[in-house]
Every structure is written in C-alpha cells, then in structure tokens.
Symmetry: C2
Subunit: 383 residues, 2 copies
Amino acid sequence: MILKAPIRGLFCVHPNASDYFCGMSDQRFSYEQLTRFVQSVFEKIGCPVPDAQLATQALLSADLRGIDSHGVARLSGYVRLWEVGRVNARPNIRIIHETPSTAVVDGDGGLGLIVATRAMSIAIEKAKQVGTGWVSVQNSNHFGIAAFHAMQAMEQDMIGWAMTNASPLVAPTFSKDRLLGTNPICVAAPAGEEPSFVADLATTTAANGKLEILQRKKQNTPTGWVQDAEGNSAHDPNILKQGGALLPLGGDREHGSHKGYALGAIVDLFSALLSGANYAPWVPPFPAYVPMPSEQPGKGIGHFLGAMRVDAFRPVEEYKKHMDHWIRGFRNAAPIDPSQPVIIPGDPEREAELERKAYGIPLMESVVNDLSQLAHQLGVNPL
Amino acid sequence: MILKAPIRGLFCVHPNASDYFCGMSDQRFSYEQLTRFVQSVFEKIGCPVPDAQLATQALLSADLRGIDSHGVARLSGYVRLWEVGRVNARPNIRIIHETPSTAVVDGDGGLGLIVATRAMSIAIEKAKQVGTGWVSVQNSNHFGIAAFHAMQAMEQDMIGWAMTNASPLVAPTFSKDRLLGTNPICVAAPAGEEPSFVADLATTTAANGKLEILQRKKQNTPTGWVQDAEGNSAHDPNILKQGGALLPLGGDREHGSHKGYALGAIVDLFSALLSGANYAPWVPPFPAYVPMPSEQPGKGIGHFLGAMRVDAFRPVEEYKKHMDHWIRGFRNAAPIDPSQPVIIPGDPEREAELERKAYGIPLMESVVNDLSQLAHQLGVNPL
C-alpha cells in the first residue's frame, strides 16, 4: 500500500524538518505497515518478540519525527552488523555495578535500540527511589535517536537525558584527525498545557545526514561544516570519503568550535569513560564493512541515560506553570522575519510526527529498494 | 607592590587565554595582595569572615585562571548590588526541598560566590551517600566562574557540573529579543597522571568579555557573534548598547545556532525552572543601575550544581587510566598547524594559573582605578 502524499511544502519551511520530506519521488508508507515489516526483520534475525517490538518502536520513532537518517533507512545496516557478529540478537543485558542513583549496564552486544531502552527504565526506577537515576552503558550498538530514550522519562513527570558516542567522524579544533562521533545530547522536559521541550542535538555544526542530502542535490556545504584531510576549510559534501572530517559545533576557533569539541568530549566521557565502553577514535564504526579499530580499550559503543523526577526539586504543578510561561515567552518573542517565528526545541519533530501519522512516512526510492532486497534476502514479507 | 611582568607573549598564543593578558600597560598584583584587599571589601559590607574568605577565593579563581572579566574587575559591581539591597551579606542559605539525590537551595539573596559553593557542598554530600547529588538554586546572584564550583567535586574523585543563568543578552534563533543569558555549562572531570578535564563554556559564540576586548581595541567582531536591534548580522562590538544581542553558539541557523539556543535553554531549565528562580528575560541584571524587570516570576538568579562519584560507576583507577589514555590521544592528535597542537579543555586556564601564581595577576588601569575608588569609598586599605 502506498499512501497518497499530502500537499507538499507544509513542513519544508521548518529548518529542522528533514529535506527528505520534500523529495518528489518519495513513496509514503503507513506507520503500521513499516512496523509490521521492521518487526518481522528483527524477529527473523533472532530477537525475542518483545525485543523486536521495542526495537521497531525505537527505530521508527526517528522516521515519525522526521529524522530519516536514523530510522528505517538504517535497518539493513543493523542486519549487516548482526551478520558479522557485531550485534547479538539475544543479549543478556545486565547491571554490572550500581548505587542508589547510578548503574553501569553491560549491553552484551545487543541492539542499542533495546539496550538503551532498558537502561532508561533502570534510570527511571532509580529516580523513583532517590530523586534521580543515571545509567552509563557499555558494550552496546547504535541506539537510534537520542530523543526516543530521553522522552520515556517525561511520561513519569521526569526530565530525561540521553547521550551516545558514535563512530569517529569529527575532528577536534586544530586537528586533522577524526577523534569524536557526532555525539548527540538530548534533554526532554515536560511542560503543562504546552507541548514538551525536547532538545536533541548533535554536537557538530551539521550531522552526517545533512551531508547526504547535499550529496544527492549535488550542492556544496556551507563554510564551517567540514574540512578536508589536511584540515583546510572545505565545501564538498563527499569530503568525508576522502579523509575529511565533520567540524564541531561552531565550525572554527573564532566561532567557538572549541565549545562544540568540548561538548562532544563530555558526551564521550559520560557514555564511555564512566561505563568502560570504547571512546574517541576507538568507537566501533556503524557500517559493518568498515574494519574495526585495531585497538579496543573498552567494550562496544557507550550511552548515558538520565532521569530526574521533577518533584524531587519542586511541586510538578509549579514547575509546569513556569515551563508553560517560559515556552510562551519564547514562542511569542519578536521574530526577525514575521514569517519565521521562534521555534521551541522539539516543535518541528512533533509537527512531523502529526503529519506522518496522518499521511504516512515518505521513503526515498533507494531506501525502498534496499528494504526490498533485505526482505528477499531474509525471506520475510516485503513492504 | 607591583610585580614585574614576565616576558610577554607566552600565553597570548593560547586561543582561550584572555587578551587582557597582553596589555602592555597592565600592572601586576600578587594573589596574596589581591586576596587581602578583596576579603577586606567583603568583610566591610558585612560578610562573616569565613564567607568573605570563601567569596574571595571564588572571585579570584577567575583572575588566576585568566578569565579576567569574571574576577576582581567585578568586585565593585557586587558592592553596588549590595548598596541597592540586591545582595544580602548575611544570608540564611537553606535547603527548602530534598530527596536523597537532590535538593533545592534558597540562597536568600546572598552572593552567588557563597551560595553556589554551599550548594556544591550539598551535592557532594549527597553523592557520597547515593552516588550522585544535584542541587538547583533559587534566590542567588552572580556566582563568578562556573569552573570554580564544578572543580570542587574533583577533590573527592567526583565529576562536577555547574551551570547558571544570567542577565538576558542573547537572542534565540530567529528573534530580535534578548531572552537568554550567556548561560554557561561546566563539566570538570578528574584524570590520573594527566591534568584534569575542565570544560567551562558560555552557550554563545562569544561571551560578553570578548566584546569588551574588541571595544578597547576598536576592532569589529567576526560574523556570527552579534546582531543589531533588528536582527541583522552586525560587527560592532558596542551593538549591545544599541539594542543588539549576542548570538547563540553556532551564530546563525545554517551554522547550528538553534543548538546553542537549545543549550542555553537547558541551562535555564535546570537553574531556574527546577528551582523557582527567575528565568529567560526576567533574570535580574548584574549592573545595579539597570532597572529590575517589571515581572518577577521567580526569585533571584538560578544555578545548578552536580556531583557524580566516579566509583558509583566503575573503579576509580580504571576510569583514570582510560581518562589519561583519552587525553593523550587528543593531545597527540595530528595538528593542522604544527605550531598549534590540540588543546584539552582546561589547559589554557591551568597554564594561566601557574603563570599568574608565579608572576602575579595583571590588572588593567581602569580596574586598578576602580578598586582604588572602592577602597576610598569603603574606607579599607587600598591595594
């Protein structure tokens, strides 16, 4: 079933909305249709049914929220990791150390989608007991979008944190070497009558997905996104294939890239130095065909999840009243261009979700073909 | 006593080191000399001796670390706030709500230098008990540099966090209005044989102190630092006096300013929405002559302090071994320019401290004159 696309352009004005959305050749699929397909794939590689359901929900939350680079487009990538033995479909996820407010979780090589969800449940349980809960994770894999995990806390009137390290694509300020991942930070905070505040940001000027969009459009990157193998400012969106690097948020020293670098480092610290996962250039790459780093100081990829009970600080109603006031103050701030009001973090993704639930999720032709081949290879029903 | 200045230029190559350092007309004063003077001022306005000692140590940590904009240059600013009744020299700092891992502290209008230090002590005590401690603070004032507070945790083999909101000078992406402070985030993490990792960053492209340097030099700001009152890109370092605004880290939307804006918002959330302090444009201004905002949704300025016991996650020795490995990996990364190696967050400030402890702290003539007038006004011994 291919859903008919709605009128185009509605969301393209949103700066955070994926440019994929505007692709005229995209086919749309319902969320339910994609759910059936993705779950069948996860079951086929051996995930227990509840895990397959959870992994599907986590993965497709990216597609719903318009973060197409992190959703079903990566499904075959996870399967390739499973094929080479780098994803364990039946992991024994367990706490290896804990205090009342903290834990370290060994993900046993499981899908990060599952491991991080379990870790967040542990953080939430600890917050129920002592006000906050903080879980650092080792021996995991790519966990999808950070927001999916952080947002779990909001259902309990808690503020959620999620971070993860990732394959090294980012050069620290002053270096030619790729030593950090795009290392995102997400904070999800509930409000009252207003929609919640969900800030989910890579600690780079632009994430890799944005380069892929420009590659397809055959357009150059703006200054401050990438450098070449020698560390010179570059504008070629394919430069990472030639030894180039993504730049930390800020772009260059004059524009604060040392801050983006420090933020990426902080994510590495909480995700890996506290858990015993690999860090810096030793983080395992997501593409299964990329050789593993020769040195492995830790285990797998690392994440960091946190949950903070609002009422561990102040009455929830007081907090929500002030959050609504804060949000309205920003939403109604004087715009520079009247056609572009101030955006609250999480607005574009929430609007994308409403639209995609109603009209289906658009997939590029290359993704549809990839999923078709995957179905054929695994012997599951095609989309 | 004016110390003889060392050979100039040694630290000027460091991008984080203050440009004040290079002023040829600066006088140098020993740390002990400044300590005696500053403490006498805090005692004169009524601070109990232990509080005056602590406030002096916190304030001068900025001068030692090369963050001249936040040190003794602000002393008269604190006194002006005391004069208009906005600083309480004998506050009753108390916990108004707590759980095993959290607390909210009412600073009773005290010096932020004192209030935040007490709040960090509470966070550390909670971490000793349950692994981590998190304290949100209301009814406080400017707390000096975030690093002073975060670094307290390292003495106990803990990782420290410090954030604070501040007077609104920053426009969120797409707006003309100044709704956020420079809202810094600091994370201080101990290492083993290597010096510790201390990232202390304003969530703007450049902090206000950098504009002051350019004002004195009569130079323009780079693109992406400030905008004018209408939201146009600007290069005049005096633009804030004409209704302009600092820009969030990233500068503009194409370069990720929505991420800097989100980070500044996160600081506001933890510092004020969780504590009941004022937030967004309602944060009280630091200069006593600037009128208070007409609306006061909360109390005073807000801070957020956190302490995480390393051994609540893993054995300290394992963590330190990996931190040293991480730090060496970055320090030895291939530089773009061989004369400018990669910097670990905290390196320039630590080097400034070594140099200033040995050769004294340079103060600009205008600051020396201001302190001289302050001594005269209060009847304390001049510098």
